[in-house]
Amino acid sequence: MKDVLKRIVFGKREKYWWMNALVPLISILLAFIVGAIFIKITGRSPVVAYKLLFGASGLFPGPYWKSHFAEMLLSSSMYIATGLGFAIAAKGGLFNIGAEGHFIVGGIAAAYLGYAKPFAGLPKFIHLPLIIVGVMLAGGIWGAIAGYLKAKRGIHEVITTIMLNWIALYLIEAWLVIGPMEAAVETGISGTPYISLSAKLPKILPPTRLNISIIIILAVTFLIWYLFYKTTFGYEIRTMGHTLMFGMEAPKAAGINVERRTIQTMFIAGAVAALGGAFMVLGVLFQYPPIFEGGYGFDGIAVALIGQNEPLGVILAGILIGALRTGATTVQLAHIPKTFPSIIEGFTVGFIALQMLIRYWIMKLIQGRKKSVQTEMGGGAK
């Protein structure tokens, strides 16, 4: 069992395989320590703050645990979706900043397919899968635009995805939501009309709001893992990601169609990130509001970085960020602004960025210990 787990999670035969998990854990720990110092400096008690934060995060049993837990998974599913959006592209050597755009494109597509006439009357078991497919297509196409521009025109994906984010935002907020998709005035609703009952995600833990989004995203994560590590497609995009520094010459010389894979990778990344927007609309808001406070897309980058761009890591990191956000409102009881968890998140990403240094420290620690045991010294640390 242990061996199977090791194979799945950390790859095979790695001498220091646990390092891949230890580095993010140390980063998170360091971030909490720095966070505590901040709280202390402002004259408040870090112990109280963290107690409140974790008490309401849904990670640990406590008062109202069921509802906290549900809320945590609800937001985690969205962070995992956008996190995967970044991680998939990163595996193929692409730096995808576009998850924010994919997320809202997915949201608006879900809202439209949820209320629009020909679909709204369908039975749930047809309607819901239809919406999911539609959302993934919409997000996928939005992602593939950036992929196309990168592959065929050589325009860097960071530029195009950022621009596409803004294009999506203004298309939606400055046109669709107050124009063609606006709810009729007499209904008194601002934003798009509410989606039909058949479009709502089924709840799984009544009376809480928790719905099947977490199950869907876990299934998708598994599929992505399968895609990465078991298929020729995943193999090809990994060769691209690993040779980014060398202009992907090795896969090109081996006959891999790098351009087509770039477009396809961005399509999949967009499709998965768009799912997050669908979860928001189909499971939480039930419509697309006139102004949507997003940020899930950008937090997705943090999730992917903390999760080291690995599917399992993204799940764990997504749950962590989801928990921090769920607990965020309660830290206000300790007179700390609810944006505080963002600081923790930021520091974690910061420390992750220093991971080579952290790895080096750990290696030194290991080697230092070995040296004190043995008298002779082996080769130095790499």
Partner: protein
């Protein structure tokens, strides 16, 4: 006065003796050239002097004082500067910013750009090296960028300047300019060490020339007391260390035929001019030539990285209009790249993942797009054994393999793919003798199996020993065609250096 003296320098790398007891003494104010083939140990020696490597044994004296150079900082402190082949400049910075980088004049804590500008202007005047201090480096031609590099080390007070193959990236005009610069520096009392494998240049500029071959010092000649031919003989050496088994060629039909191929180089100039030749089944065609004479362009055109501006490439009698790596491989081309880390392998990948690259979509490695790990492991285990890749562990990452084993892994990968034509671009580059021999044996095995092989090599002994036919590439053109029994290494060497042309038999 001696500027630099090395005594008994030995550098042992695992499996290869890069420098074997080298003694040199270089006078102040002299231009001292070190020549030798690729892998002769020139760069290793310079890296030892510059503190990038520590010698296994030996002593270094700088201005008659025994020194211990552990890092480049020590070297800079001893007034030794190095102009690397790859420039270490920041393109978006101005000339001035680049020159003062790391040791900036300041006003309090603020960078004093005005003062820096003045300093650079003064410096440039003092040594007669004209640059525009306010221009961005990105806008400068390569020759001027090199000048900026030189100014950079001069500003640090360098007295001994090492140039590592400085003309490799320059056009002939820029080379002329560089030589003028070197003479100016000499007049200013600087000592210059000039590493090159271009004999003509060395004879034109150097006061003394040291020849290295296979890590050993072959001799030191003085200016005007040698000829290019004599120097070439010293560089190449007559003794062939490696025994290459001969195999009779059973030449079959034409596999690849190239006509009037003209290709632009990465720098946008014509790198290959109207080259035509055929490669037949069961023969090894060797392309001899000094690096940078069109080899890269030929390879890139053949594998579809660069589109030729003129000419055709036909495979099995069928002309391929647009070559992509995918379609040429499908036709049956295998490719051993000269740069294994860049083109041959995915370094973070394991042996089992690397060995299937390019054939991963084929049965039995995958079916319907799903990889078959059991088959891949079985195949890898077999191939690691067959090609003697060490360690035999299929899970070793390519980055942790030695150069020789990386090359064996590439051979295993390429030769197990179905192919009729093998393009081997410097297949023994940077390998030790043992691995070299392995590669030779594999190439001959391939030939005996009836493959058409195009061997591009800088090593004359390799070309002479392996090829059935030899084409000599000089300045993007084929200047001669011969066979190993009709020529000598000396003659080939002369052709490679453009000193002797030979009429080709019309095809």
């Amino acid at each position: 006065m001696k500027a630099l003296e090395v005594k008994g320098i030995v550098k042992q790398f695992p499996g290869v003796l890069a420098n074997d007891n080298i003694n040199l003494s270089i006078n102040k104010g002299e231009i001292y050239a070190i020549v030798g083939e690729n892998g002769a140990g020139k760069s290793t020696l310079m890296k030892i002097i510059y503190g990038l490597y520590t010698p296994t044994s030996g002593e270094i004296f700088v201005f008659d004082k025994k020194v211990d150079i552990k890092t480049p900082y020590d070297a800079i402190g001893l007034k030794i500067g190095m102009v690397h082949q790859e420039f270490m400049l920041i393109p978006r910075f101005t000339v001035t910013q680049n020159i003062v980088l790391g040791d900036e004049p300041s006003k309090g804590i603020v960078f004093d750009y005005k003062k820096a500008l003045n300093e650079v202007e003064e410096l440039s005047e003092k040594f007669g090296l004209k640059v525009d201090p306010a221009e961005k480096v990105a806008n400068l031609p390569v020759g001027i960028q090199q000048r900026v590099e030189i100014l950079k080390i001069l500003r640090r007070g360098a007295e001994i300047l090492i140039f590592d193959e400085p003309t490799a990236v320059l056009t002939p005009e820029e080379t002329e300019d560089l030589f003028k610069t070197l003479m100016k520096l000499k007049k200013n009392g600087k000592t210059i060490i000039f590493i090159s494998h271009k004999l003509k240049e060395v004879i034109a500029i150097a006061d003394r020339i040291a020849v290295l071959r296979r890590g050993k010092l072959q001799g030191i000649v003085e200016r005007g007391k040698t000829s290019e031919v004599e120097l070439a003989r010293m560089v190449v050496g007559r003794d062939v260390v490696l025994k290459i088994p001969k195999a009779e060629a059973k030449v079959g039909g034409t596999v690849v035929s190239i006509r009037d191929l003209t290709v632009k180089s990465k720098r946008g100039i014509i790198g290959l001019k109207e080259v035509s030749f055929d490669v037949c089944a069961g023969e090894i065609v060797g392309i001899a030539g000094v690096e940078g004479n069109g080899q890269a362009e030929l390879v890139n055109a053949l594998i579809g990285f660069t589109r030729p501006i003129k000419g055709t490439i036909a495979f099995d009698g069928e002309e391929i209009r647009v070559i992509t790596p995918f379609n040429i491989r499908k036709k049956g081309m295998a490719y051993i790249p000269k740069d294994r880390k860049m083109r041959g392998l995915v370094l973070p990948f394991r042996s089992r993942e690397n060995i299937i690259m390019g054939q991963h979509t084929l049965y039995p490695f995958s079916k319907n797009g799903v990889l078959n790990n059991i088959e891949i492991d079985k195949f890898t285990t077999k191939k690691l054994e067959e090609f003697d890749v060490r360690p035999r562990d299929i899970h070793t990452r390519a980055r942790n393999l030695s150069g020789g084993n990386q090359q064996k892994l590439i051979l295993a990968k390429e030769m197990s793919m179905e192919h009729k034509f093998l393009l081997a671009s410097q297949p023994t580059r940077g390998l030790d003798i043992g691995a070299m021999e392995f590669v030779y044996h594999k190439l001959i095995e391939e030939k005996e199996r009836g493959m058409a092989i195009l061997l591009i090599s800088l090593e004359l002994s390799e070309i002479m020993g392996l090829s059935d036919r030899i084409l000599v590439l000089y300045n993007g053109e084929i200047v001669g065609e011969t066979t190993p029994d009709k020529t000598t290494e000396e003659e080939l060497g002369l052709m490679m250096l453009g000193l002797k042309k030979q009429k080709r038999v019309a095809q």
